[in-house]
């Protein structure tokens, strides 16, 4: 891209809006036409515009999955690298792949990358990523808590051409389809992604027609420079020095031992150093992530805290990462990565905790911190296979301005949950409960949002349960003196009564029979500020609403109630004069 032209400040502001609109429109097109609910309803997809030479993110849609904002650049870079070895990039090419070690995240996420040509040269790349319903492997829906190699998680496709100089390669689609339990869904999603890229290309050309290629190039370069400037301005407001935060994953699904994620965050000289060297080494199970994913997760955390930071590679210019190549935050093939969501949520949690210790103003407590990917699969009486796959929610962390949101989506996603009526209409299940979970929010001056209780009864003869969660042992943390939330709690019925999973928060191939139930009680968010400072009337309101039990009110908040349900002022004074329980 030529950097010779300049662009005035006002045109730049206008072009910023136009470019963002193109990415947003690509998102919207895929959401509307996708086949699987993980894209259509949960918006587990993303689109953007990327640098022609470096693949860096220039503009990203606002409605796609936040984690992809940081990770897509690596995907485009992987294509640029592969094309360099295989005869270059040509007009009309579209590349497709899902290699997570090159492009980040996990095998379910298929990326399509398309060059936009102008005057015979690549002007920029457009890319589309979407979470497909099933990409083979041992477990329908691909969340395999027992995987020890990526081969058990699904097919791995390196960057290959889906279109070669405009010619569609049906043989590639045939290979993909043959490796999925749900080829029809795959075919529909693939078409949706092609639609989005074609639309983006059309809009990009229209914009270049309006303003000229040199102006657009200059604008893209200027936006990157300004993003870096903005991030530097944010860093400059933080106190210099080093702070640390540590948090843990329950286990990797194979070995029941905690895994540490540790961050040493150093601010100084207008830069931020994120040092993860003290984190656990690579593990046997699927909670490893690639370096690309680690960087992307940190970006998501920073953008949540500093809201006006743009979705642009420039943001990471003043940030330095130190990640040990032997750690679970920087693995290569064939280490399993299917449960990447859990690890990046924990990364976000440690960034939140570290920032909260130096900048309580913009900080938030930890959200529920797990994706709770549930796959229920079986065969109907007529032999037809069914797979119900969905993510289940929890509470958001409290913050200086108020309580956390009840039943929100994970910080890495904007996913909505499918209506239970849609799930019941499509699969042989009946929900017996779909409710907020009392006492699940972390106590605090501001209370963490509540998690949920979902209870599901099987209506068919038999089904297998796969459940991939976390936070079964280590609760979402409070910040600035706030308390921790409740942990994740899974139970399921068998003929001999109620059971809990061996791996606490992970289940593999547990069989349910007709009439048996599976119960998910999900974590809330952490609290903010000391709980004893929460005004008594707010605690009383929480108790009245059933958000907080009288017991928790007494123990955590130091508020006592008399037999008739009103606040006992004397007893409360006495409780609050003591040291708070934590």
């Amino acid at each position: 891209m030529s950097g010779t032209a300049t662009v005035d400040a006002v045109t730049l502001a206008i072009l910023k809006g136009r470019l963002e609109q193109i990415a947003d429109e690509m998102d919207a097109t895929l959401f509307r036409s996708a086949f699987n609910p993980i894209i259509a309803e949960a918006h587990d997809a993303s689109h953007g515009i990327y640098d022609a030479a470096t693949g860096e993110t220039l503009v990203q849609g606002k409605s796609g999955l936040p984690i992809f904002v940081g990770v897509m650049a690596f995907a485009v870079q992987a294509v640029i690298e592969k094309a360099r070895l295989r005869g270059g990039i040509h007009e009309g090419d579209v590349w497709i792949f899902n290699d997570p070690y090159d492009g980040g995240t996990h095998l379910s996420d298929f990326r399509l990358v398309k060059p936009v040509f102008r005057d015979g040269a690549v002007f920029c790349f457009l890319a589309s990523v979407g979470h497909w319903h099933d990409v083979g492997g041992n477990v329908p829906g691909n969340y395999n808590p027992a995987a020890t190699e990526c081969f058990q998680e699904g097919m791995l496709i390196p960057p290959v051409k889906l279109y070669d100089r405009g010619a569609f390669r049906q043989d590639v689609v045939d290979i993909l389809s043959a490796n999925s339990r749900l080829p029809m869904s795959l075919y529909g999603d693939l078409n949706g992604q092609i639609n989005a890229l074609e639309l983006g290309e059309k809009r990009m050309h229209a914009l270049i027609d309006d303003y000229g290629a040199p102006t657009i190039s200059a604008a893209l370069a200027a936006l990157k420079a300004r993003a870096a400037e903005m991030m530097r301005a944010q860093i400059a407001e933080l106190p210099a020095g080093t702070v640390s935060a540590e948090d843990f994953l329950d286990n990797d699904g194979i070995v029941d031992e905690p895994l540490k994620i540790a961050l040493d965050l150093t601010i100084g000289d207008g830069r931020m150093v994120m040092d993860f060297s003290r984190s656990s080494p690579a593990c046997a199970g699927p909670v490893n992530i690639s370096r690309a994913t680690t960087v992307a997760a940190c970006y998501v955390a920073l953008k949540h805290i500093f809201g006006d930071v743009p979705a642009n590679a420039g943001v990471l210019e003043p940030v330095e990462f130190r990640i040990d190549p032997g750690s679970l935050l920087s693995v290569t093939a064939p280490k399993p990565v299917g449960g990447y969501t859990e690890t990046i949520l924990r990364l976000i949690d440690v960034v939140f905790q570290a920032i909260a210790s130096i900048a309580p103003g913009p900080a938030m407590a930890c959200a529920y911190g797990t994706i709770n990917a549930l796959s229920l699969a079986g065969h109907r009486e007529n032999g037809q296979r069914w797979v119900m796959f969905s993510f289940f929610g929890g509470g958001h962390g409290a913050h200086g301005g108020g309580d956390g949101l009840n039943h929100g989506n994970a910080p890495i996603s904007t996913a909505t949950i499918p209506p239970l009526e849609i799930l019941e209409a499509a699969y042989p299940v009946r929900f017996t409960q779909w409710a907020l979970r009392p006492d699940s929010g972390g106590p605090g001056r501001h209370r963490g949002g509540l998690g949920a209780v979902y209870e599901i009864e099987l209506l068919e003869k038999q089904a297998d349960v796969f459940l991939f969660g976390e936070r079964g042992r280590f609760a979402p943390r409070g910040v600035v003196g706030g308390g921790d939330a409740a942990t994740n709690r899974f139970t399921y019925q068998q003929h001999d009564g109620e059971h809990r999973p061996q791996m606490v928060s992970k289940m593999v191939g547990i069989k349910l029979a007709r009439g048996q139930r599976l119960r998910l009680e999900t974590p809330g968010g952490g609290g903010y500020g000391p709980a004893f400072l929460r005004p008594v009337d707010e605690v009383a309101r929480d108790v009245r609403r059933g958000f907080v039990s009288a017991e928790q009110a007494a123990v955590s908040y130091g508020v006592a109630f008399s037999a008739n349900g009103t606040v006992d002022a004397d007893a409360t004074r006495q409780l609050r004069s003591r040291e708070p329980a934590t």
Binding site: F35, P66, R226, D403, P411, E424, L436, L459, R545
Partner: protein, 684 residues
């Protein structure tokens, strides 16, 4: 008929109540604007009409666009409401679809309109296939209802899981509630919306219950006030779908008034445009904090299936699709941390308002920029609240906040603010037009509200719109919309079956039955129609998808057949996404029936200027206006004095009491035979 010759439209907004009176016999129109009466809108309403009509007995039809429902939702001032629901599901309205207010930052919160303690459960269950798993016990329902009433709930909503598939349990429960409930405010969720998706149905129905006491008592007070003046005609209420309904229907389904006011404006714009020969328009309503656009293609306003009035307050009934962005006259301009210019979404609103109002705001706004560039007359502020605008204060604010940091002149800085604001508005227009596959060159912008006409010229240039059409009275457009709106009722029913498994003929008969039933509702309203139209649609999708496309269906004399449905789906799907997916089964999610009673068209000729004068005669002054980086001498004209056929070349300013129109350099404005101003790119 002669003794009831008046048709009256009344639009009650936050600041003003607009009244539009059409004297059918004389073919004359009178309008007035009176201050809205906060607390009880019905007083200002009756006073406003009384300014024009001496004897209310002469009013045949009175149509009302109301914001009572909208405000009650936004300000959370509905009634204390209870919910009776299926055991295990009382938190559905609070849990939403597990979303959050903004993608970035996790600081949003949500408080539902019904307290958790007022949401009670009963043992009952219907499965997705419609079978009753657990029958409802009426005794238990009555007990819950009594408990809610005793607790002080004024309204109640009964919402059962899977009620869309079979509402036996829910209907029995509703009857049980009615047998003990002290008033008529009992809402049955599936009566409001028999459509799959529990949160959307529960939310819509709950908001209906929440609004019922408020809207009912308002309409009663209004009816009494009108009756006291001898009114004996029909009172009709504008719905969010752009049609009107009887006051009785509005009392039962108040949630349908959620966007009553804005819908009336779009309807008026459609009617004015149609008369003037424009079937494709984009309406632009610019207020203090927002810019609302709506697309009218082939004479029809676009409908959206649902909207969120606020985060988590989802209303799923067909509504005129209005896209809102945060760019109004009060939108604040500033620089972000990297020095990039921003306009909005933060707004100074109308109080304190722009810097030039002198009410305490010191950060420059879009209105301040227009003033500094000479596009607004400082001595003639719109709205009548202020005597004059403080142009020096506006200049100073732009200089400090924008011009100096960006090293621009004050004029260039002000123009930059307008360019960015215009770009945002253009983005909203692109969103509703280009993104939906429409060519903007075939569309005209129609501004209404106070500020829109200052920006239409820029929108023509920026988006490539064909022209702009400024109605003669942009400020009373919504009241006019009340007078011309058709009567419309929308019904939906979930089907959720594969097309291959459906008896298409039976489906067609079911839809016709709904249409006939709905026509009796129209007949009861006692309004004369030119004709009654039926619109049939199916929500369809490929097996595996979750988003449906709206498929228009014609049911001929021979009934419906599967081939017709499949063909119609292919056409609609190709239109939406370009490519069909052969071999994948098709599913029918819902059927939709709309019945529209067409009211007689208003002769827009009544707006035509009488004794109009030439442009030269109407020119009152010359003002220095800054545009495209230079000062120009712009003629200032009294807009309402212009004769049919008058032509004015930009740059020019056309003033009238409720708005100012800026004709940009290079554009030409002409008065059409209805008094509208048509602005087009000049020949150069």
């Amino acid at each position: 008929m002669n003794d009831r010759a008046f048709i009256v439209g009344v639009d009650v907004g936050g600041t003003f109540t607009d009244v539009f009176v059409l004297d059918e016999a004389a073919g004359a129109v009178v309008t007035t604007k009176v201050p809205s009466t906060r607390g009880d809108q019905s007083r200002g309403f009756v006073q406003g009409i009384a300014e024009i009509v001496a004897d209310f007995a002469e009013i045949g039809t009175l149509v009302h666009g109301t914001t009572v429902g909208t405000n009650a939702l936004l300000e959370r001032k509905g009634a204390r409401t209870g919910i009776i629901t299926t055991e295990g599901f009382r938190d559905v309205i609070e849990m939403r679809r597990r979303d959050r207010p903004t993608t970035w930052g996790l600081k949003g919160g949500f408080t539902p309109v019904v307290e958790r303690g007022d949401r009670l459960e009963v043992a009952e269950r219907v499965l997705a296939d419609g079978s009753v798993f657990t029958p409802v016990a009426e005794d238990e329902v009555r007990e819950r209802a009594r408990a809610l009433a005793a607790a002080g709930c004024e309204a109640v909503c009964v919402f059962f899981i899977n009620g869309y598939a079979n509402d036996d349990n829910e209907r029995r429960a509703v009857e049980a509630v009615r047998s003990v409930w002290p008033n008529a405010f009992v809402t049955a969720a599936t009566e409001i919306l028999p459509e799959i998706r529990e949160f959307e149905r529960a939310s819509t129905a709950t908001l209906n219950a929440y609004l019922q006491p408020v809207v009912s008592s308002y309409l009663e007070r209004l009816q009494q006030g009108l009756d006291g003046r001898g009114f004996a005609g029909e009172l009709l209420i504008v719905q969010s779908n752009g049609g009107v309904m009887s006051a009785e229907t509005a009392r039962r389904y108040p949630v349908r008034t959620a966007l009553s006011g804005p819908a009336a404006g779009v309807i008026a714009a459609t009617a004015i445009a149609r008369a003037a020969g424009f079937t494709n328009i984009i309406t632009c309503d610019m207020g203090g904090t927002s810019f609302d656009v709506s697309l009218v293609a082939d004479g029809k306003a676009t409908l959206a299936a649902q909207t969120a009035i606020d985060f988590g307050l989802v209303v799923r009934t067909p509504m005129i699709e209005i896209t809102t962005i945060g760019a109004g006259g009060g939108s604040i301009a500033g620089l972000d941390k990297s020095g990039l210019l921003q306009v909005g979404p933060e707004s100074a609103g109308s109080d304190p308002g722009p810097v030039c109002y002198g009410l305490g705001n010191s950060r420059p706004t879009v209105t301040d920029a227009s003033l500094v560039l000479g596009r607004i007359n400082a001595d003639r502020p719109i709205g009548g609240k202020l005597d004059r605008l403080d142009i020096e204060a506006a200049r100073a604010a732009i200089e400090t906040e924008i011009a100096r940091p960006l090293e621009l002149s004050v004029e260039d800085a002000a123009e930059a603010i307008l360019r960015l604001a215009n770009a945002k508005m253009a983005g909203a227009i692109r969103l509703v037009s280009i993104e939906k596959g429409h060519d903007p060159a075939r569309f005209a912008a129609m501004p209404f509200g106070g500020g829109g006409a200052l920006h239409t010229g820029a929108l023509i240039k920026e988006v490539g719109l064909g022209s702009a059409l400024v109605p003669r009275f942009p400020g009373v457009t919504s009241a006019l919309g009340c007078v011309v709106a058709d009567m419309r009722h929308d019904r939906v029913q979930t089907v959720n079956r594969l097309l291959d498994d459906i008896d298409a003929e039976a489906l067609g008969r079911a839809m016709l039955a709904v249409a006939e039933d709905t026509e009796t509702v129209l007949a009861r309203a006692g309004v004369a129609f030119e004709r009654v139209d039926r619109v049939f649609e199916l929500d369809m999708l490929y097996l595996g998808q979750t988003h449906s496309v709206a498929v228009p269906i014609a049911i001929g004399p021979g009934g419906l057949d599967a081939e017709t449905v499949a063909g119609a789906f292919d056409a609609a799907y190709r239109d939406a996404f370009g490519r069909l997916l052969d071999g994948i089964p098709k599913r029918v999610m819902n059927h939709r029936v709309a019945v529209i009673g067409r009211r007689p068209a208003l002769d827009m000729q009544v707006f035509a200027p009488v004794d109009g004068k030439s442009a030269e005669h109407c020119r009152t002054a010359t003002r220095r206006v800054y545009a495209d980086g230079a000062y120009h001498d712009a003629g200032v004209y009294e807009r309402l004095g212009l004769a049919v056929g008058a032509v004015i070349e930009g740059p020019a300013l056309l003033e009238q009491p409720d708005t100012t129109i800026f004709v940009d350099p290079g554009l030409v404005a002409a008065v059409d035979r209805f008094g509208n101003l048509v602005i087009t790119p000049g020949k150069g």
